[in-house]
Symmetry: D2
Subunit: 206 residues, 4 copies
């Protein structure tokens, strides 16, 4: 579809997979995946968790590096200026809200790390982990699409990685902001792909 | 308006201005503000330039720190994986596309710096500059709203600053992605304000 | 004393305290402060712990922001290429080696965070914490002087903070590398001060 | 030689070259390499320039990525709190002091970038450049050993790269601080090697 952005060459080029893949899982923690928490309980996020679990089972079998993060703070004073009330009430270190969803968590295999910003890369060892494992392509999954997933995909691009934003492994509270993210990110920084594309790549290349 | 996000406490809190303001101007360079370049020539961006020029004239009078960046690369090999064809053809160091728009540029007063990512903060001295000047609140202006402005606003928040996203000082190629950005950022990371709000703050406080 | 560095204007200027102080405590964790661990058991480090405890008791009384970090890794695969064998054998998340020394730890008051590099600022929320608290001057304490303390002091400088390297609150395994650090850092990036200088500043200004 | 550090397992492990090498050249700019400038005119630095030039001629022939930086500031207000008077008087953008030494400069081949901290990696696109080129091993050269070279080597390590500190390609104003750096860095973060080791690696592997 032609529009004012494609007229200006947005989305003209494809990124493409490189040689060595890594998977990033953003904030699939109970605060967002479990309906008992004020920000939890979205079908869209639930489905993304299931799809990511399927993708991760292949990744771990194929020895693909997996980094999985959660957001949590020691206390209120250490948080940036969040406008989301529930974040300030629930996202504390050691709380259940900070626990990874058991469907995607493998503390033995994955590199699990805490973050305090929106992006999984912001002031965390995320890029160093992928660099050390010689990853050149990062598949980004997680929630919430229009928040931390988007910020993470932009950073993955900025750090020099080929970035794959996995549409059906990424969930939002509502559909509109999810699609807007795919549109904005997909014409600038990353290829928007499906979990099957990533799985096929792993089956062929690893 | 109530929606699924406000139900979950998004946008519940306000950030508010702090004590010391700084202005960030993102990518008001000819590549985007001048119609002779493939990505240039948007009325929305043009208007944002004019509004920012007005805001900056007050800021400089009131001795408010101003940081202004442009994106440029030494060569193709040093670029991240952009999907925008025109970026790869125009954004080179020393080219006219990399020059700041004369309406907002004041090389004597402003802290002008080059960036290579989307965010003005990514791998640049931007945060150090504001930290050194004891800024606690950053008003973000520039283009393109749904790209580099958004990434910069998210980073401003992540670095611990109070962040004001100045709606009418920020321009995009089209209206939809501009509004989507205000919506997504405004309920998470920053207050969406008007240039007059920032000008009034400067008149009262400096 | 005149030498080839002062001939070239090294150390010519003083940094000086600014307006708002913060304290950074680097790696006073049992791995380094407790003789039961392979890298622990240095009198120099022990003395630095005692001096820092004294400094911190004033800081907490005066409501000065304190950030205290420890180094730990989820597993071997996530470590950078350390050449220190004992690091690879002891510094795991949840282990006793990663626990802060009780003499300096106050988990209720301090901002406690984990790091994975040498510097307390590297890929951690350390600078965002100090920025949020409007700190412009950071007093650096901890161990080991010629390793993580030095890297942290350099980063504090690089982030735009006024940096005070607190000589008697910083410990090394041996005296030579401690002094070399004071010399190198003190003529470039930071004022070398005593704990009493910092305490006096807090008494006068807070 | 056994000492208190090797007793504690410092220097016990070797890093070793990986698969893909990159070269980092730190601050071989006229301010430090040319005796007409207040910080310039050291035989040690001169020799390091010559050795690096020899190493770079092989690197460019073998298509090894080379990143070369210089430090410069737009003005005094944008500098961090340097204690070196001459830095504040000479290191301005566009000045001759900021020009790379012609013996090591190849603006066509090298990735040349500006920095504002001590480390070549601090708030610069340096790590993204090496990541994009799939480098896993960085050979660090440049000046001044006990300042910017050391800070760069520590960051190279922290970013997850195998780090080679090239002894005879690194120069300081005086011998002591150079040797202290080799000692401190070499037992923690990097292998200390000679230019011939790096050249031999390139001849064998590229």
């Amino acid at each position: 579809m032609q529009d004012i952005y494609s007229d200006r060459s947005y989305g003209e080029d494809k990124v493409g997979f490189g040689e060595r893949l890594g998977i990033l899982v953003v904030d699939f923690q109970k605060a967002f995946t479990d309906g008992r928490f004020p920000m939890g309980g979205s079908d869209r996020i639930d489905k993304a968790v299931e799809n990511t679990a399927r993708l991760l089972s292949v990744a771990r079998e194929k020895n693909i590096p997996v980094a999985s993060c959660f957001v949590a703070y020691p206390n209120l004073a250490s948080m940036p200026y969040w406008k989301v009330g529930a974040i300030k009430e629930t996202l504390f270190e050691g709380s259940e809200a900070a626990e990874l969803d058991p469907r995607i968590a493998d503390h033995k295999y994955d590199y699990v790390f805490q973050k305090e910003g929106a992006s999984a890369f912001f002031m965390t060892p995320c890029s160093a982990f992928f660099t050390k494992h010689k990853v050149d392509t990062i598949a980004v999954t997680g929630c919430v699409t229009s928040g931390c997933v988007r910020a993470s995909a932009v950073d993955s691009f900025q750090f020099g990685f080929r970035t794959m934003l996995v549409d059906d492994c990424s969930g939002d509270h509502d559909e509109g902001p999810h699609q807007d993210t795919m549109r904005d990110v997909g014409r600038r920084y990353a290829d928007v792909v499906r979990s099957d594309d990533v799985i096929n790549f792993m089956m062929r290349n690893n």
